[in-house]
């Protein structure tokens, strides 16, 4: 088998598993809060260390030969199916593993401060470790089936953590919504895998590891299902899975609701890592998309549309976490645009920088929420730069990085994506992407202004967060500053050795920077402008709302997409289920057919039972009549 056997890989996934078990089973009874938090964090740090060690060994290999494998055991074997529990480390999974374990570690540490005093503290860390375990399984899996294990495992972690405060029915419902929406995507993922496996088996290929699949991708290109090219169909079906996990249109609706979970969870799962799994999966399966360029167009257009739609919605939100949630949906759209344009490495690059600055922004939002004792409404914030100096500086770093201001991280990766889209020839998509970039700069500037500028509008006493929270944020801020430069220099050549170095046209850079600048300036002009004075200032959304009340209501209510799904899909289906039980099941099958048959026999029995009078004379008469009939029949048969 191709690749070098490397038994160290399993040690990357085992520490978080141990942490999950220990904190979950023993935490509450035997560990103090401090010990539970440290245990959970150390477990992830250990994963990170093993990821670094493995990376250094990977780098020692020649560029064309960078693949490490660790097969633990044969997982499923039945008939022609053999699926191994096997891990692989190549440049792509190495980058992902580092980002996942690194960012996870920082957020674990932050959580020690954020979750301080929560009665579910150990459960929280147990779930968080559980998530990291499955995320690393997803990333390191050597075949799509094992990847699906991680895929669903992180979904479960997400479900449990969104509904962490389950006593609030709304939070519990948000968790359920996330799980079910993801399941719709997962059904697509599974259907894609079923078709892929069928195509491979038909071609005599039974191993399902990525190397084998990649080597036989032409089998998919040469097959068709229901009159459609199989590679195209597989690509689209897998992408359906990605739209679920990575919150793309039309399945993005769960992510904003997922903000019901604790904020560090939003940062880790619903911004930096899990939601990028779809992008990672597409990059991992890119060999299939190379065989089906039409599927890439679907990815490109969906990504672009989602990026734009979500950015528009983000402009009008009042909840600080909702702004960031829609921003995440939008940024994930950018990553899919990259993959759709054929530049998966650019997508992974943006995935990495986004993990830094979006995690930073979420943690900063968490710090604000923490400092304001739970307030999330931007309109009730303001002036926090005076009260939360460190958080302000850190948020500002994230703001510049997301806006795409050079030389911060976001600029490099987003610019690269726009350039790739442009050179791929999709002019309209590029233009929409550029507009979205401007909107991005606008809404994040608006967030910064509303939260930190002017005067404080709330009532709660605002206080700065402890060092256990600000230090991890500081590290993320540092990464948000240098991540882009470092990534452009090392990450891209590492992911795609042998690819020609990027040539950036000055014009493209200028246009992209201009878009960011336009967004920022617009935000300061509109949101920063105060009508009236002092404490009675009127703020942007209200002035926009006053200017275009209908449009504003439409955007503020997220184009009523949730309501439309509810009315057109969920309610009718629930009613149909109810009807199925009431009418066909209860009335027809059980009522008319089953019990009807029973009644028929019962009444038949009663009728015939009436003949059982117990009267000997009656029986004798019947007997005689019968005898006569029989005789008559015999005689009739003889004579006629």
């Amino acid at each position: 088998m191709e690749g070098n056997f490397y038994p160290l890989l399993k040690w990357m996934i085992l520490p978080p598993l141990a942490g999950f078990v220990l904190n979950g089973l023993l935490g509450k009874k035997f560990l103090s809060e401090r010990a539970g938090g440290i245990l959970g964090s150390l477990a992830v740090l250990l994963s990170f260390v093993f990821a670094l060690l493995s990376l250094s060994d990977l780098l020692n290999l020649p560029a064309a030969d960078r693949l490490l494998r660790d097969t633990l055991f044969t997982w499923i074997s039945a008939g022609p199916f053999t699926v191994d529990f096997a891990l692989r480390l190549d440049p792509l999974s190495a980058v992902m593993a580092l980002v996942v374990s690194g960012v996870s570690f920082l957020i674990h540490v932050y959580s020690i401060g954020y979750m301080h005093g929560d009665k579910g503290f150990h459960k929280y860390f147990s779930y968080l470790n559980f998530f990291v375990f499955f995320m690393l399984v997803l990333v390191l899996a050597d075949n799509p089936v094992l990847m699906f294990v991680g895929w669903e495992g992180v979904g479960l972690a997400s479900y449990l953590l969104i509904g962490f405060w389950y006593e609030d029915p709304e939070k519990a419902s948000a968790g359920k919504k996330a799980f079910i929406t993801n399941r719709i995507g997962d059904a697509g993922f599974l259907a894609g895998l079923m078709l892929l496996a069928a195509v491979m088996h038909a071609g005599g290929v039974y191993a399902l590891d990525f190397s084998t699949l990649s080597a036989n991708a032409q089998l998919a290109a040469g097959a068709s299902f229901a009159g459609v090219n199989a590679a195209f169909l597989i690509g689209v079906l897998l992408f359906v899975g990605a739209t679920g996990k990575s919150a793309q249109f039309p399945l993005y609706v769960w992510l904003p609701d997922a903000m019901a979970g604790p904020t560090p969870v939003s940062a880790l799962i619903h911004a930096a890592t899990m939601v990028t799994a779809g992008v990672y999966m597409l990059a991992r399966m890119f060999f299939l998309y190379e065989a089906a360029p039409a599927a890439l167009d679907v990815v490109l257009v969906t990504g672009c549309f989602t990026a734009f739609l979500a950015a528009v919605i983000a402009v009008a939100q009042r909840d600080i976490k909702k702004v960031l949630a829609y921003s995440t949906v939008s940024q994930l759209g950018f990553m899919f645009m990259a993959v759709g344009a054929g530049a998966w490495a650019a997508g992974v690059f943006h995935l990495t920088t986004h993990a830094f600055f979006k995690a930073l922004l979420f943690l900063a939002a968490g710090s604000v929420i923490h400092g304001l004792s739970g307030e999330q409404d931007l309109f009730k914030m303001g002036g926090l730069r005076k009260h939360m100096r460190t958080t302000f500086i850190l948020t500002a770093t994230g703001w510049l990085a997301l806006s795409g201001v050079p030389p911060l991280a976001g600029f490099y990766s987003k610019d690269l994506i726009l350039e790739k889209v442009f050179t791929s020839g999709a002019g309209f998509v590029w233009l929409t992407g550029l507009l979205t970039a401007a909107l991005t700069a606008y809404y994040i500037s608006r967030l910064l202004i509303l939260a930190f500028m002017d005067n404080y509008r709330g009532r709660e006493h605002a206080h700065e967060s402890p060092a256990v929270m600000t230090v991890p944020m500081g590290l993320l801020a540092a990464l948000s500053v240098v991540g882009g430069m470092a990534g452009a220099a090392w990450l891209l050549p590492f992911l795609q050795p042998g690819a020609p170095p990027e040539h950036h046209s000055a014009l493209m850079i200028a246009i992209s920077v201009a878009a960011a600048a336009a967004g920022i300036i617009a935000a300061f002009l509109i949101t920063g402008r105060r009508i009236g004075g002092g404490h009675h200032a009127a703020w942007c959304p209200r002035s926009l709302a006053a200017a275009w009340p209908r449009l504003h209501r439409l955007v503020y209510n997220k184009f009523y997409v949730d309501e439309i799904y509810e009315a057109l899909l969920l309610k009718p289906l629930a009613r149909f289920a109810d009807w199925t039980f009431r009418v066909p099941d209860s009335k027809v099958i059980d009522g008319a057919l089953v019990n009807g048959t029973a009644r028929l026999f019962m009444s038949l029995g009663r009728t015939l039972g009436a003949a059982q009078t117990g009267n000997a004379q009656f029986y004798a008469i019947v007997f005689m009549a019968g005898l006569c009939l029989l005789l008559a029949a015999v005689l009739a048969g003889y004579y006629l």
């Binding site: 499923i76 022609p80 199916f81 895929w151 669903e152 389950y166 079910i180 259907a191 069928a198 089953v594």
Partner: protein, 506 residues
Amino acid sequence: MMIGPDLLNLAIYLPLAAGVLIALLPRAKEHLSGPLALTSSLLAFIPALALYTGFDPALPGMQFAQDLPWLSALGARYTIGLDGISMLMFILTAFLAPIAVLSSFTAVKEHRRFYYASLLALQTGMLGVFAALDLLLFYVFWEAMLIPMYFIIGIWGGRRRIYASVKFFIYTMAGSLLMLAAILWLYFDHQSRTGVYTFALTAYNNSAAGGTGMLLFLAFALAFAVKVPLWPFHTWLPDAHVEAPTAGSIILAGVLLKMGVYGFIRIAVPFFPEAAMTAGWPIAALGAFGVIYGSLTAWAQDDIKKLVAYSSVAHLGIVMVGVLVLEPAAVSGAVLQMVNHGLSTGALFLCVGMLYERRHTRLMADYGGIAKIMPAFAAVFMIVTLSSIGLPGLNGFIGEFLILFGAFKVWPCLALVSLGGVILSAVYMLGMYQKVFFGPVSNTANKELPDLKVREWLCVLPLLALIVWIGVYPNFFLRRIDTAVNDYIRLAGGPRPVFSLAKGEK
């Protein structure tokens, strides 16, 4: 004692012997009936386990076989033995029986001697069905199983127990009579052709073709379809489940439903491969339809037990697709899924029973916020729920995955329809979980419920262990059924031709 037929007989008849003993206990010693039943079902598990570990996965055909003259005048013989498939069902039955007994300790308070005697007699009946290799013996065990179950539902059941038990009895009996007629036809036909009266199963493989074969196949298929239960023969199941005591539900879901599928594998399909080849698709289509139908009707329930009962229609539907598609991976998956369903649905009924014992209601609306009151129970229920909806890493996924992937190659449409169950199962199971466990504790009656007790832990822990074990390392179980699955497919005249994926073809 060697691992052989003697051990097999011991495993089968030990429960019955203990049951007779318990029935004969003096009234003053009635309190001993439960512990005695538990001891004997645990003791019976030991030989079953020895058989399982001693089973040689590489050998074709039956193992631990025994063939003794029985009713010589009729040509019926006492023939027993196990292959990989029946071995797995056998160990599942022996495994679930002690759990069913243990779950009854506090739930059943009346006529305890008779109750445990019935439960143990039922165990012998079920084990006998899986071991029987003689048609008459099979039929005797098959019917013998019905009677104790009828009593268990009818005497220790809920409010509408009489209706449910009579419905269960008549429905299955009607099916059984058709099967008996078909058996007799085969028996006399065999005699007329060969001059030999025999009930040996092996004598009837591929025994009738054409219209006769189809009629006989349908007679068997109907008898088994009722047991599965295949849509539209399923309506006895929700009633039986809702009214049955917890142990009855565990056995019903865990083992009795598997009898139907097992009947297809052991009798209906191998006896009439030609008919099964033709009628396989329509019957599997009923199964796939049942996946969607069962899920939707499960979604519409307010009663937790009824919801779980309808979910069984969905789960067994997909198993039928796997059995009839005659693709090795799908058949293996279906056999494993029978076990998985037994574990997860058995565990679900167990958990529902624990709730019922505390609050005497099965309506979801009466609960809410239970996770706060009974955190350990909530965690257990969550794992079982996830197993039931087929989350990877737990047992349910392995079976569903193999069935779907195997079936897709032959009947892509049925596989895709069944895939709908993946989404819907999450909808109704998580919906139920949320209603019972999440939200505020609105009902004051729920405020003081005790969490799991030691006895309850002993019931659920073995189930949880297997749920995780099969999910993580299914090969331990799959390895032992491989040969039997291949035998089955060969006898059925399979494998079926694979769906063409060549370019340009529709």
